[in-house]
């Protein structure tokens, strides 16, 4: 790619980005969220057109007008959100849109396609049954289908966008083996990630992006995690484990779950009798592959979801199931996964959002009326105290960046002096600076005696912050480890449904 520039209204997503990848290599694109990785890959696959610059493929300039052009040129991409058709079978997904070989014929010859898919799966260790329907597959299996699609099409270049976000460490290892095998056959794999250890583990070369520009391309063998992080962030970053906190867990039980069962959205049970105890001043992390009940756990405690059995106690008080107001009154604060949807009202101002939890009582409300000035004061104080970068309290929440939104959320939740704080994926999508801030807040909260329940898919984060780690698998807690002695391998083993040792 040469000097590729892409602008969106108000945003320069890619500013003269250049890099080159050779056949037979795994080339990593490393950068923080918002560094322009995804935009770049969308240009490569013909979804967007560059405003300036061009793509050269095997020495020839190419112009993609649609994804089909890119596919025809042999470029396949595995998106972060899979591009699969859920009700279709694996074979149907693989052949979809293909207009060569079996796909060329007017009628779809399923047996021939299924045979080929099975062969490819065996060859690359991507075992999925060709006749399974996508919705029956696990996330990891779905990713294999995406890779099978590329293999079936005999793609020369495979782009993988954040492929490990949905995988257990073991699954990620297996994926790396597959990717290396593909590279050895002379294919090019472009591996997009912001996780340093993965990049050093799988890539031959690494191109670092920052703020929409290429910073440097380095040989992976010459780089360390520390050097890459510095390139990515633009300054030295401390990646080590947290310093020991001053205050040890006090031992008072603040939150207690006993035999909590919750029906799932898709039938069946999302939580199958969860028991959990949180003491004041400790951070307990919930680890698990996405979709194993973590979100439901957070929503149930905060009252957004009603349990069908079991009890939830905050202190001595038993919460009414499915009553968020009761949970708030009892002192439960919740930072939801989906900040702009569940956490905040995007089109309302910061001051309104700041008053969401306190507007029913004085001093924010005055009988049936709202004290607008006091709301603005509250917002101003939150903005100042939590370092939210915003023009003023009347700015609509949607104009804030992810990090600033999260700070606003944290500020609002802390404001009510909670006893329990549930933080679901609090750093997802944030840049390194904001992650540091959020981590700092969570540690402070624990030091102040709040019981923190951290739900995260980032094992590094969990190990850096938590005192204890519980692992969820298929709606149940399958293991509990002391964070100080836990290892990534051990957690990964439990996350995949293994028995605790």
């Amino acid at each position: 790619m040469v000097e590729v520039t892409k602008r969106f209204p108000g945003v320069l997503a890619n500013d003269a980005v250049s890099f080159e990848a050779a056949p037979g290599e795994v080339h990593a694109l490393l950068g923080e969220n918002g560094a322009g990785k995804t935009t770049l890959s969308n240009i490569l696959t013909g979804l967007y057109r560059p405003d300036e610059g061009q793509i050269e493929l095997f020495g020839e300039a190419v112009h993609f007008h649609s994804p089909r052009d890119a596919l025809d040129a042999g470029i396949c991409m595995v998106h972060q959100h899979f591009r699969l058709v859920e009700p279709f079978t694996v074979a149907e997904n693989v052949v979809l849109g293909d207009h060569r070989s079996e796909g060329k014929s007017f009628f779809v010859h399923s047996p021939a396609i299924e045979r080929r898919v099975a062969e490819l799966g065996e060859q690359y260790g991507l075992g999925v049954h060709p006749r399974s329907r996508i919705w029956q597959l696990s996330v990891g299996e779905q990713q294999r289908v995406e890779i099978l699609k590329a293999l079936y099409r005999e793609a020369r270049i495979l782009i993988m966008d954040e492929p490990t976000a949905v995988l257990t460490p073991q699954e990620a290892e297996a994926l790396f083996v597959t990717l290396r095998a593909m590279a050895e056959e002379g294919k090019t794999v472009i591996f997009i990630s912001h996780k340093l250890h993965e990049v050093t583990a799988v890539a031959d070369r690494v191109t670092v992006l920052r703020g929409g520009r290429t910073v440097e391309t380095v040989m992976a063998s010459d780089a360390t995690q520390r050097s890459l992080a510095a390139l990515m962030v633009g300054r030295e970053v401390d990646l080590g484990r947290s310093p020991e906190r001053k205050q040890k867990p006090s031992g008072d039980v603040v939150l207690e779950l006993d035999g909590v069962r919750v029906p799932g959205d898709r039938g069946g049970e999302a939580l199958k009798g969860v028991a959990l105890v949180l003491r004041s001043g400790e951070i307990v992390a919930v680890a698990g592959v996405a979709g194993n009940g973590q979100r439901e756990l957070a929503e149930t405690i905060s009252g957004m979801r009603a349990s069908s059995a079991g009890t939830i106690r905050v202190g001595a008080r038993e919460l009414h199931p499915g009553d968020p107001r009761d949970a708030i009154k009892a002192g439960v604060a919740h930072i939801p996964e989906d900040r702009l949807g569940t956490g905040l009202a995007p089109s309302l101002s910061i001051s309104r959002n700041a008053a969401f939890k306190t507007y029913r009582t004085a001093p924010i409300s005055w009988g049936p009326f709202l004290a607008v000035k006091r709301m603005a004061e509250l917002a101003r104080s939150l903005i100042k105290r939590y370092d939210v970068k915003a023009p003023g309290p009347e700015t609509p929440a949607r104009n804030l960046s992810g990090g600033n939104l999260q700070k606003l959320m944290l500020g609002r939740e802390f404001h009510g002096d909670p006893k329990v704080l549930i933080a679901a994926q609090p750093t997802r999508g944030l840049d390194v600076g904001a992650i540091e801030t959020v981590h700092g807040f969570l540690r402070d909260a624990a030091s102040n005696g709040v019981a923190v329940l951290l739900i995260s898919e980032d094992l590094d984060e969990i190990l850096a912050l938590a005192d204890r780690v519980v692992v969820m698998y298929e709606g149940a807690i399958v293991g509990e480890l002391d964070a100080a002695s836990a290892t990534v391998e051990e957690l990964g083993y439990l996350m995949a449904g293994g028995e605790a040792r």
Binding site: R83, V95, L96, V108
Partner: protein
Amino acid sequence: MSVNDSLVVVVLAQAVLYGTPLLYAALGELLAERSGVLNLGVEGMMLFGAAVGYWVTQSVHGADAPVLVLALVGAALSGAAMAAIHAFLTITLRASQIVSGLALTIFAGGLGLSAYFGAELDLASLPVTHQFASLDVLGLADLPVLGPILFDQSALVYASWVLTLLVAVYLGRTRWGLNVRAVGEAPASADAMGINVTRYRYIHVLVGGALAGIGGACFSLSIIPNWFAGDSLVNGAGWIAIALVIFAFWRPGICLVGAYLFGGLSALPSALQAHGVTIPPEFLYSLPYVMTIVVLVVVSTSLAKRRLGAPAALGIPYVREER
């Protein structure tokens, strides 16, 4: 009285007759919905197709067969022209499919374009010149029971069977059909795999409109070969066709069965009266509509929605560069 004059045979034969326009319209709507576009303009497109079809038989002179084929072409084109408005509004401009469809029904319907067209050309006062007559292709029309039901029908009926088969094979067995289903289920995925979402949606909305036009022409060229002012000719068949698609779980084969079921329900009240069965006719006349409501209520429960196979992207405009 022979068995072929018995109530059951008479009702079943009429079920096929009255079900045929529903079948054409429902197959058309099914194709559009499978590509992810809900078109509530079926009633309007049917009525306009009926008007244009009848007008062609009045203005073209010649033998029955070519004139009628031409009338069907006219009806199909006029239905497709109406659908093109819907396609442009909803696919290109990404307007609400529900609002656009309803507007289309009102615009093309009994108080709009069709009525104007019919009144301007004074279609209502023109006597019928060409119509689809019963065609006894295999010489089986006198077969007991099955004869009048299946073999004493017009070419439109026989053609609808072929069409049902074609649509089923198209969707289930062909590459294009696979692509259409992908576009209706997951347009972003289809787009990423190089399928032109816009083109597929346009084509299927237009074909759907054409079939609705032909469905309308079934009324004005076969069932009630005439033009009638207002919307009384089609009389809600378009709405029933839309419900039928849901009832059929978006499957062409079940569409055929459902069309005949609804067709039978609309023929039932007068048939029962004629044969001396005294169930209050007002109850019977409301049956197709009651059934429609029941179908809509049943399928709108969340459980049914997930299990029935509604195209996941139905009703949702596709935007590629969303940030």
